[in-house]
């Protein structure tokens, strides 16, 4: 321990205010980073449980018979919209080709 007393530790030879306010700020940022995810987690879990319950109610009323989809592993392939875009010019050509073919 460098300081000989608590008051010496708090005052820090006149620099205490700066040091302690900087450390308080660090504490605030750390606390924000810890609290924000927990708040978000609680909110999203509540949303999902509400959604699940709503769906169950609908299933009971036979409005939706089976809307529960399986695991959609979208990561395995590129997203479908994009592949569509890539294929677009090719499709046009295919179209024009088929027109030509039919003309022949």
């Amino acid at each position: 321990m460098y300081f000989d007393s608590w008051s010496g530790f708090l005052v820090m030879e006149g620099h205490g205010l700066y040091v302690w306010s900087a450390y308080t700020m660090a504490l605030a940022v750390i606390a924000y980073n810890l609290i924000a995810p927990f708040m978000a987690r609680r909110r999203i879990l509540a949303q999902i449980t509400a959604q699940v319950r709503r769906q169950e109610r609908l299933v009971q009323r036979n409005v939706i018979v089976n809307e529960v989809r399986g695991d959609n592993n979208e990561n395995r392939s590129a997203n479908p919209e994009n592949t569509q875009l890539k294929h677009r010019p090719r499709r046009q050509e295919e179209g024009s080709e088929s027109v030509e073919r039919s003309a022949q």
Partner: protein, 244 residues
Amino acid sequence: MNWTFFHKLGSPKWFYDISGKWLPWLQVSSLVLILVALVWGLAFTPPDYLQGNSYRIIFIHVPASFLAQSIYMMMATAAAVTLIWRIKLADMALKVMAPVGASFCILSLVTGAIWGQPTWGTWWVWDARLTSMLILLFLYIGIIALRGAIHTTEAAAKACAILSLVGVVNIPIIKFSVDWWNTLHQGATLKLTEKPSMAPEMLWPLLLAILGFYLFFTMVMVLRLRIEIISRERKTRWVKELVS
């Protein structure tokens, strides 16, 4: 080469399961490290011969600055992965890193300003490093704002990825031009930190603090990623089972 590892890494469910095991270790180690480093730095190191006790802010300021800069680099990496391999997890990482990076950027700026008052006699100096850090904060704000403005997840992901890449190309240019501008204007010549001249009894707690802050960032990122995974995969069966 076996690529299943790579695909597994991109699977949100796999990440959710494995990160649940990492999380307690990360939480304990990061908080203990930060606590030890800061108490060591606050109470057990001798004061600086030039700056007195105010130099103790270094144990927050330097880790926060390092983190703010490297988080942006990590975001750019995640952006490249998002655009090239279209791995959803990379985009989630890009999204959750932005607010964390911005918070450490603010911490770095505020502690720098507080440190400036006893050292330079003024809260703010248009010093090259402080100015670059401020511009880095603007870059973070831009990415967060863009993410908030585009409502479709897919488009927002790629737009943010492009913006982070544009930003990372610009960071060296901005840094260079701000340094040039600073030398022209003869700003503050006093540097906050002079690394080689640091005594080892000050350096050790600093290194510990840097390690602790990085671990803390990893922990926060894992926490936020898990929430983001649940939020985006809410229609899948495993998330529904997890919740109920």
